[in-house]
């Protein structure tokens, strides 16, 4: 009797689950007039209090254009990744989601089948968008020959620069224009260290290493940008790595880097004037942005040419979910978002007259409501190059972006996405070793003469060679397909 009742309960639960999972709608014929649908769109960024107000306007417009309403859900920066993981694994129905190399991992989700393959959809419903987006994006974002998300049109290259406090440089008559690497900074750091007591010459950062890193930035697997670029290497074995880390350690010993650098997680806000040099990623006119947000003048010297990496082309994209019931309509919406300046501006800047004012020359001026109640992450939404400019922005901003993109050099591994499933255990072990050694080494806190060898030894114990071989094999195969 007891067993029977338990059995009954299990049967009931199972049938309940099956009943709920089984409902699926049969799609209508796409030829006749469009039915009204609601598209769920997950976007990264702090939820804004005026979002509902703006959504009303957006829906009015999209209803008219493609007979769809948008249910835009913003998930905060720090939790986007976790939340999307749960949503994807649970098979929840949604239509569009933000994806990238650094949040809601693009290549992983694409391989897993969480996102739809978009080539056909795009040919049918997104031709205008295809023309608007820089081809480098559409090519570089392909995984195993398929495109799984629509890249955001913005700066395609990635360029590491040293940003410095220009006020301090002028005060002490320092001319940084000849600087090309961190080694050249020595005399300037010395001046700052001696003359300015409250200023740390270096705002803690990881040393810049000129490689194209696979997986995460700290991990050892990388391709060289110069010399033999077709061989995958352990970047911690390279001569140049040793040189740069030695320089960093030298700076650490001389007190140019804060003594708690290896463990500190301080964010070094730009608007506190207690640093002289920091590492940043550049986009055209970034120095104006920095200066404006910090309240004093900031300038920069480049550390490398702008390169096109996998990370930079997949830096911001919109994917259509495999669970979407209306992928066609989602594609139509994305097409509209990337080509229609009115919609793009509405989503990004809010409502004219409430959040911003339109000036006679076509530029816009922020109203207080935009900063407080509708501050959207512009780069995460869609085509940036069709946005109106702010009144204090240089007129040729978007031209400068296009020029920057044209001048960016493709990395040797652009478009190669490593599939780590065969060597998962080794990578986990290597990741552990890396997180033990890399932060202290990269921030200059420990002597590379001693620890770099120990680090490499431990990496090989953890299975480095096997992973390198696997990557090389996949890379060679990928290259063979390219030609």
């Amino acid at each position: 009797m007891k067993k029977l009742s338990l059995f009954l309960v299990i049967i009931m639960v199972l049938s309940f689950t099956a009943g709920c999972g089984g409902e699926k709608e049969v799609k209508g014929n796409p030829d006749h007039e469009l039915d009204h649908v609601t598209l769920t769109w997950y976007l990264i960024g702090t939820p804004q209090s005026d979002l509902d107000k703006v959504l009303e306007e957006i829906n009015e417009y999209t209803l008219e254009k493609i007979n769809a309403t948008i249910d835009l859900r913003m998930l905060d920066w720090g939790e986007y990744d976790d939340r999307m993981q749960v949503i994807v694994t649970s098979g929840e129905e949604y239509d569009i989601a933000f994806t990238s190399s650094w949040a809601n991992n693009y290549s992983l989700n694409a391989r897993r089948g969480a996102f739809l393959e978009l080539t056909d959809l795009m040919d049918e419903y997104g031709q205008e968008m295809q023309e608007a987006i820089d081809p480098a994006f559409l090519e570089g974002a392909q995984i195993d020959g398929g495109l799984y998300a629509v890249p955001t049109n913005k700066e395609v290259g990635q360029q590491a620069v040293l940003a410095y406090n220009k006020e301090l440089a002028d005060k002490h008559d320092l001319d940084l224009s000849d600087v090309t690497c961190i080694k050249d900074m020595e005399p300037y750091f010395q001046v700052i260290k001696e003359e300015e007591s409250g200023v740390s010459p270096i705002a803690t950062f990881d040393a810049f290493l000129p490689f194209d890193s696979l997986l995460q930035e700290e991990m050892p697997f990388a391709f060289r940008l110069e010399g033999d670029t077709t061989e995958v290497i352990n970047k911690y074995e390279e001569e140049i790595t040793h040189d740069i880390l030695s320089t960093m350690h030298d700076y650490y010993n001389k007190g140019y880097i804060r003594s708690d650098a290896a463990t500190s997680t301080d964010s070094w806000p730009m608007d506190v004037q207690n640093w002289f040099v920091r590492k940043e990623l550049y986009q055209p006119y970034a120095e104006l942005l920095w200066s404006r947000s910090s309240g004093y003048e900031i300038d920069y010297v480049p550390l490398q040419e702008p390169y096109v990496f996998n990370n930079s082309v997949t830096g911001s994209m919109q994917a259509i979910s495999a669970t979407s019931r209306n992928p066609e309509r989602a594609m139509m919406f994305l097409n509209l978002l990337n080509t229609d300046p009115y919609l793009r501006t509405l989503v990004d800047k809010g409502i004219e007259g409430v959040h911003y004012e339109l000036n006679d020359d076509g530029t816009i001026t922020d109203l207080p409501a935009r900063v407080e109640d509708y501050n959207m992450p512009s780069f995460a939404i869609g085509n940036q190059l069709i946005l109106p400019l702010h009144d204090d922005e240089p007129e040729d901003k978007w031209e400068a972006f296009e020029e920057f993109n044209d001048n960016s050099i493709p990395s040797p591994a652009l478009g190669f996405y490593f599939d780590p499933s065969a060597v998962r255990t080794e990578i986990a072990a290597i990741s552990n070793v890396t997180s033990e050694f890399a932060p202290a080494l990269l921030k200059g806190a420990v002597d590379p003469d001693v620890y770099l060898d120990v680090f490499n030894e431990r990496l090989y114990e953890a299975g480095m060679q096997k992973v390198l071989d696997e990557i090389q094999e996949q890379y060679d195969e990928w290259r063979a397909h390219q030609q």
């Binding site: 709920c20 939820p47 998930l75 720090g78 649970s90 929840e92 506190v272 207690n274 986009q283």
Partner: protein, 323 residues
């Protein structure tokens, strides 16, 4: 009560007299010797200080200026005092007040609900006359040992129960706690004798009446304990909000704090979003403002604790039958 105290005082006095008669030295078997007393006092004071100091430190940091924090780090006596952090909170007051409201609502409703459900469930399985008592105890016990994991939990909550973006998503998951049910069952078995239930039944009381007017008053210490645990659990919960709430109007206080923390971590790990993150950075409160939020999120619940504690001490001495 009173008479008992009197008697104990009398015995104490008389024992003192006896000791005094024997030796000149005063000896009280209920107290420590002077030396032990001093050592104990110092140790306890140290321990109390260690417990309180972090919180005092948090208050101090919330009152120091951002500039001096960035320049010199955390200091016990900051370079420069400032109320900026609290001014910042005043600026985000509408959001904070709403979060406060949500937290208070889920704490009050949740605690009432969970106390009601836990006490009824555990009373039922504590009664020997209840036939399926073993099966229901097993159900509870089973969930204590095994859980489905986060994704099935998420699927049940969002797809079967449709609780996404609903205030019940913050209340229901914490409403019944298997461990408290086991505690309460044992408590009912120990402190509510069969005899008292039987006598109530002889007087003509039904099951509900027995439960409400006889059993519950006897179980007050146990219920107070569980109520306190539930209150703390609801007040401190952020995880359910993280999973189920997108709507910024439904975010409780701790979750707001957690979001700020997560965002700061995120920026620290993703420096490469670079030029575009400057507005993100500006939107996140800095150290002192964070500490100020910690202060206002913790103080109210810390202040309610003494009231609960008083209740415990009184409640624990109540007994039904003297044997």
């Amino acid at each position: 009560m009173k008479s008992f105290e009197k008697i104990s005082q009398q015995t104490k006095a008389s024992s003192e007299e006896v000791v005094n008669l024997g030796k000149k030295k005063k000896y009280d078997p209920h107290s420590f010797s002077k030396k032990t007393n001093i050592v104990m006092n110092i140790l306890l004071a140290l321990f109390a200080f260690l417990c309180i100091f972090p919180f005092v430190y948090v208050i101090i940091i919330s009152l120091s200026s951002e500039q001096s924090l960035a320049m010199h780090g955390y200091r016990v006596i900051p370079q420069e005092w400032s109320l900026d952090a609290y001014r910042y909170l005043w600026m985000m007051r509408s959001q904070l007040l709403r979060a406060y409201g949500i937290t208070i609502f889920i704490t009050v409703v949740g605690t009432l609900l969970s106390v009601a459900m836990i006490s009824m469930y555990s009373y039922a399985i504590s009664r020997k006359q209840f036939i399926y008592r073993r099966q229901f105890t097993f159900l509870v016990f089973f969930t204590m040992l095994f859980s489905g994991g986060m994704v099935p939990f998420y699927i049940v909550m969002t797809q079967f129960l449709g609780l996404k973006n609903s205030i019940w998503a913050l209340i229901l998951p914490l409403a019944v706690n298997a461990f408290y049910i086991i505690i309460m069952r044992t408590f009912f078995q120990r402190s509510v004798p069969e005899a008292i239930i039987e006598s109530a039944r002889i007087d003509g009381a039904g099951e509900f009446r027995i439960f409400l007017t006889i059993v519950l008053p006897l179980a007050i210490p146990g219920i107070a304990t569980i109520a306190l645990f539930s209150t703390l659990a609801y007040w401190n919960d952020w995880f359910n909000a993280l999973l189920f709430i997108d709507d910024p109007n439904l975010i409780p206080l701790q979750s707001l704090l957690m979001r700020i923390e997560n965002n700061l971590d995120f920026i620290a790990q993703n420096a490469h979003i670079g030029a575009q993150s400057e507005s993100l950075m500006a939107s996140i409160p800095q150290d002192s403002a964070q500490m100020a939020i910690v202060v206002i999120a913790t103080l109210p619940i810390a202040l309610t604790y003494p009231f609960f504690q008083k209740y415990f001490v009184r409640g624990l001495t109540i007994g039904g039958v003297k044997e």
